[in-house]
């Protein structure tokens, strides 16, 4: 296996406030990593640095062999390889679900329209909302919207998938349908970094769990190890609160 994401001594500030402190994280191909930690600990910022939705100020981030910095040309090319699913879905409300899914393939990857639509239908099938393809996002439930957002990201056939609390904005009864879709994706062999508080999901699919607090990676361990005997006091406290 080869390293697909490498973060070395990554630091980031918002003004005077340091969000990320000396982050070291490497992810192997096909690895599934769950990131957890209290709110405001910098989890979102961390994964948003991986596709450069946020810019880090110090340190080094390498994604699939490309270093991310101001000098990076074609950041769009790297982003096209890294899919992302957001807490708030962020579907494009002016386009139908199908158009949401075909927009980037057609305009970024220059896939012929017909082919893009076939792929989109396949992905929508996978997340079981192919019957909603012609509706607009506003007409779907939260769970359906999030699955559509997942399908949209997958239509770009990314190498890496980032998830930022994909179920946090959902009503409890819809969480499972989204998690199921993610489990399926994991079984298919995708490289995944998932920020979530769904520990059941972590136990089921994660290879490793990363615990963050106050901008630092406090603990990183194999999933079983992480839950069975966490080393750090803060991890223990966090787990006792969340489990």
């Amino acid at each position: 296996m080869s390293t697909i994401i490498e973060m070395k001594e990554v630091n980031k500030w918002f003004g005077d406030f340091q969000v990320l402190k000396d982050i070291n994280l490497d992810v192997q191909e096909k690895q599934k990593i769950v990131v957890c930690g209290p709110s405001g600990s910098g989890k979102s910022t961390l994964i948003r640095c991986i596709n450069r939705l946020e810019e880090h100020q110090k340190g080094k981030i390498v994604v699939d062999g490309n270093e991310l910095s101001e000098k990076t040309k074609d950041i769009e090319k790297i982003r096209a390889e890294v899919g992302m699913v957001f807490q708030q879905f962020n579907l494009f409300p002016h386009l139908s679900i199908l158009d949401n899914c075909t927009l980037a393939p057609i305009w970024v990857k220059k896939t012929p329209k017909k082919q893009a639509e076939e792929l989109a239908m396949k992905q929508l099938e996978q997340v079981q909302i192919s019957d909603q393809a012609l509706k607009f996002p506003g007409q779907l439930s939260g769970g359906q919207q999030q699955r559509a957002a997942l399908a949209r990201a997958l239509c770009m056939e990314p190498k890496i998938m980032l998830f930022d609390e994909p179920t946090s904005a959902l009503d409890p009864e819809m969480i499972k349908e989204v998690l199921d879709a993610m489990v399926n994706l994991a079984k298919g062999g995708m490289t995944m970094i998932v920020v979530t508080h769904e520990m059941g999901f972590a136990k089921e699919v994660a290879d490793e769990v990363v615990f963050m607090d106050e901008g630092m990676i406090v603990e990183r361990a194999k999933t079983k190890e992480f839950f069975a005997n966490p080393k750090n006091e803060r991890t223990k406290l966090f787990l006792s609160q969340i489990l």
Binding site: R79, M84, F86, Q88, N90, F92, H94, A104, V108
Partner: protein, 414 residues
């Protein structure tokens, strides 16, 4: 039955008696307003008689849940209590008093047929004035023999716009591109002439409603894209672009249009190199375009501001660059949000065109000014301005309806 009949407290049992009685009083009141039946009373009584009659009439028919549909609707909307009843009565009186004279002036006492001032003998409007001057009002001082060129240009425009509505989506794009990037120039060369064996007509001779349209069409077409770029520029992360945009927008928003037009016509040529010449109409169109594009920019920026950051995140995460993201995701949503604002700006632009009067270009209102000061036709300002108001209203109302239909068409969030 009679016992139940109280004159102050209408009730449901004797519904029909009350309603008939109330209607009678009301109609009597209205009749008095219209025909002054009770004139023989002293003025201070006769003045209040219709009011009292109508008020009492409305009081008698104010019966809740009467079961008569029309009566219930009436009571609910214009007669729910004594105060509303009085307001309704005043409104009705006002209409009765004002509408007939207006109609008389506009139509019944107006003169439509004739060819000179003396033909207008009635008390009403003299539409002969509009009739005689019609060609001038429409085409300005454009040579009469060449008017077909203006007609052809506009008929062509209408045909192409019509075509765009009927062809399939794919061809429609080509039609629109032709309409926006090619047709305006065909139109201008047709109207100005000077080639293809067409006689050259100076822009000074252009005028009337045709000029209103020409200026509006060009300024609208140009101010829209300029406004978009300014709006994006104002939100740019490059300081140079950002502050240049802010400066530009604030400058044009800060000066009155009349000043801008003056500068375009009088001062601007002084800054041009000796032997270059730019047509006055072109300068004016550029001035109006820049002026309105500043407003357009702020309208569009309002829409951009309203979009959540997540839309940008999603676009970027799918590998879209700045332009692709704005073209496909951001602008369609932002523009959809601000259709009413865009319509507002467009309407304002159309209604601002008469100001070109100050630099000696005479569109519809300018031509009316000219016609009304013609020694043979003194004293018809009212007819002229009413006509101009009507024409502008038609144009603006059509635009307003179109913007509403666009809003409906693009409404996807329910």
């Amino acid at each position: 039955m009679i016992k139940n009949l109280s004159l102050l407290k209408p009730n449901r049992e004797s519904l029909h008696v009350y309603v008939s009685l109330g209607a009678a009083f009301f109609i009597l009141g209205i009749a008095d307003v219209t025909f002054n039946i009770f004139e023989f009373f002293p003025i201070w009584i006769s003045f209040f008689i219709p009011l009292v009659l109508c008020f009492y009439g409305l009081h008698l028919i104010r019966i809740e849940f009467s079961g008569i549909k029309i009566l219930d609707i009436l009571n609910k909307n214009i007669n729910s209590n004594w105060f509303n009843a009085i307001l309704s009565i005043f409104a009705i009186f006002l209409l009765i008093k004002s509408i007939p004279p207006i109609l008389d002036w506009l139509f019944f006492d107006a003169t439509f047929i004739g060819s000179k001032k003396e033909d207008c003998t009635g008390d009403g409007a003299c539409w002969v004035f509009i009739n005689v001057w019609f060609e001038r009002l429409m085409y300005g001082l454009y040579p009469i023999n060449e008017i077909w060129r203006i007609n052809a240009a506009f008929i062509g425009l209408i045909l192409i716009v019509g075509l765009a509505f009927f062809v399939s989506a794919k061809i429609k794009n080509y039609v629109l591109i032709f309409l926006i990037f090619v047709y305006p120039f065909i139109m201008i060369s047709l109207i100005s002439g000077g080639n293809f064996g067409l006689e050259w007509v100076e822009t000074n001779a252009w005028g009337g409603l045709a000029l209103t349209f020409i200026i509006s069409i060009f300024a609208l077409t140009f101010c829209f894209p300029v406004g978009l770029f300014l709006a994006l520029g104002r939100r740019s992360s490059y300081p140079v672009i950002k502050y240049a945009s802010i400066g530009f927008i604030e400058f044009w928003r800060g000066v009155p249009l009349i000043t801008v037009l003056f500068m375009a016509s009088v001062m601007f040529p002084m800054f041009l190199p000796e032997d270059t010449y730019m047509d006055k109409l072109v300068r004016v169109i550029i001035a109006i375009t820049l002026f309105e594009s500043a407003y357009m920019a702020e309208v569009v920026r309002g829409g951009l501001q309203a979009l959540p950051r997540g839309q940008y995140d999603a676009g970027k995460s799918l590998g879209m660059g700045y332009w692709r993201m704005h073209l496909l995701i951001i602008m369609p949503q932002a523009l959809k949000l601000v259709i009413p604002g865009i319509a507002n700006t467009f309407l304002a632009l159309v209604k601002d065109t008469p100001l070109i009067l100050v630099v000696g270009l005479l569109e519809l209102i300018g031509m009316i000014d000219m016609a009304k000061t013609n020694p043979k036709w003194l004293g018809f300002a009212a007819e002229g301005y009413v006509f101009a108001g009507f024409v502008f209203w038609i144009i603006c109302y059509a635009m307003s309806r179109y913007s509403i239909s666009l809003e409906r068409k693009y409404k996807t969030d329910r």
